[in-house]
């Protein structure tokens, strides 16, 4: 029995330290990004375009944090193998651990962002209730989704070095295919079902539910999220298994 747990935590710790340059200030910088985004988007949509969603700033913040967790997590997970050649070709570590530890570091960072920024909701006039306690469960689900996707993304990015460009475009598209700056009720009825199958959208709606509307996530939310996790995990394992044999030679 090897020390797999220790390997996983020490690599996650390394990624976390490197990401925030080993300082509290590094973490504070990472909070500035979603805050600035919230301020700018609130200004544009709420004051210039006069979108009439109650408590727009808080409504936006929740979805922005969900989006940031997803987009930063998959974008960094995608590079996890390529940016750690020595872990692949100089020592033997089960390769999925390199991806998983990277995702864990991101999970920790994003959870901290939620914890530090959610009290802002109180300041924005949102009263939190017990439903807010479901946050950890939803964050774990989002983490699993990020991991499931990162498996295929990281392996494909080793074989096709420009793969990250495609994912970058997909993320830009994803930002507007999720109800971040607009309400899902604006989607025409005939596209609505297809639109609502997006697991990130489901997570956003579920989190808005528990914080702003004091409602539990719906069965539909949970089915779509869990279903996508299983689907992408199966696909990810298939692709990763196939491609990992070539990692040491391609790097």
């Amino acid at each position: 029995m090897r020390n797999y747990f220790d390997i996983l935590t020490i690599l996650a710790e390394k990624d976390f330290k490197v990401r925030y340059r080993n300082s509290v200030l590094g973490f504070l910088w990472s909070l500035l990004n979603p805050l600035a985004y919230m301020a700018i988007l609130t200004l544009v949509f709420s004051y210039l375009l006069r979108v009439s969603i109650p408590n727009f700033a808080g409504w936006l913040l929740v979805a922005l944090l969900v989006w940031r967790f997803f987009s930063v997590g998959t974008a960094q997970g995608l590079f996890s193998i390529v940016s750690n050649p020595s872990l692949v070709s100089k020592v033997y570590v089960p390769r999925y651990m390199i991806v998983l530890s990277n995702n864990l570091a991101n999970f920790l960072g994003s959870s901290l962002e939620f914890l530090v920024l959610l009290p802002l909701l109180l300041g924005l006039g949102v009263g939190l209730t017990v439903t807010a306690l479901l946050l950890p469960i939803l964050l774990v689900l989002e983490f699993l989704l990020v991991f499931a996707l990162s498996l295929s993304l990281s392996a494909l990015n080793v074989k096709y070095r420009d793969f990250y460009q495609l994912w970058d475009i997909a993320l830009q598209l994803g930002f507007f295919l999720s109800p971040i700056v607009y309400s899902a009720s604006l989607i025409p009825a005939r596209f609505y079902f297809l639109y609502s199958l997006n697991p990130v959208t489901r997570l956003m709606e579920a989190l808005r539910g528990i914080f702003l509307e004091h409602q539990l996530p719906t069965v539909f939310d949970m089915t779509v999220v869990l279903g996508s996790i299983i689907l992408f995990l199966a696909l990810g394992l298939l692709i990763f298994r196939r491609l990992e044999k070539g990692f040491a030679e391609e790097l």
Binding site: I7, K90, D162
Partner: protein
């Protein structure tokens, strides 16, 4: 190790992007074939070591020595054949083990000790010994990138030595440390020999091979030219060159 084969593909035009593959698919439609040459880095390599025996690997550059070490370490997989090892493996491949430059010397030592199989709590206790052996105690809180390459190899070596593995894979790394450090490592290797540990040594230094290795494998163009006791094998290699 039984009947091990390892193939590399040398493409005439390297295709490593989605765009290349799309362009490549088009040229196939036009009747051009995807051109690459096959290169067998190891061909039908078989040998067996007894418990506590050490192995020297010799041969000219490009004969497959490092590839063989990587296969033993489990970093690469063979295209055919089987490799069996018993006991933990501590690899020191190709000059250092690839540290993270922005973290401190101590943090790097902790990470690589754990990657080589030690538990984190165990590693904390040993960090001082490791840094002392490497002669880097003074620099423990310095960022790793500020160390010279010789110092980094010393650190890699010192960690590998402390991991209590049964098999040490050493790829010419010994040549990099200074004289004093080399001497310290050789003393350590003598201790390992007494403890019946296995050292797999890739080297061009025949004296080292003769001293430490009972058996030696002579590789040429990926094929086993000779395998047997070190004295005879080393002499054959020297006669050929």
């Amino acid at each position: 190790m039984e009947d091990v084969w390892k193939r590399f593909r040398i493409p005439h035009e390297k295709r490593s992007t989605v765009l290349d593959h799309l362009a490549g698919a088009l040229s196939v439609l036009e009747g051009k074939r995807y051109a690459y040459e096959e290169f067998w880095a190891l061909k039908q390599v078989s040998f067996k070591l007894g418990e506590g025996e050490s192995l020297g690997i010799i041969g000219p550059n490009g004969s497959g020595k490092s590839t063989l070490l990587k296969l033993i370490a489990g970093v690469m997989k063979p295209n055919a054949g089987t490799i069996r090892t018993e006991g933990g493996i501590a690899p020191v491949l190709e000059l250092g083990i690839g540290f993270h430059g922005d973290l401190t010397v101590k943090e790097n030592a902790l990470i690589y000790g754990v990657l080589m199989g030690l538990h984190r709590s165990e590693m904390r206790k040993r960090t001082a010994t490791i840094l002392d052996f490497a002669g880097l105690t003074r620099f423990q809180d310095a960022k790793l990138k500020t160390l010279s390459s010789g110092m980094q190899v010393r650190l890699a070596f010192s960690i590998a030595i402390e991991t209590e593995a049964e098999i040490f894979l050493v790829d010419e790394a010994l040549a990099v440390g200074d004289m004093e450090f080399q001497q310290k490592c050789l003393d350590k290797f003598r201790e390992f020999k007494k403890e019946k540990k296995t050292i797999v040594l890739v080297s061009h230094n025949m004296e080292l091979i003769r001293e430490f290795c009972e058996k030696t494998l002579y590789l040429l163009n990926g094929e086993v030219r000779a395998f047997g006791d070190s004295e005879t094998t080393a002499t054959r290699y020297i006669e050929r060159t």
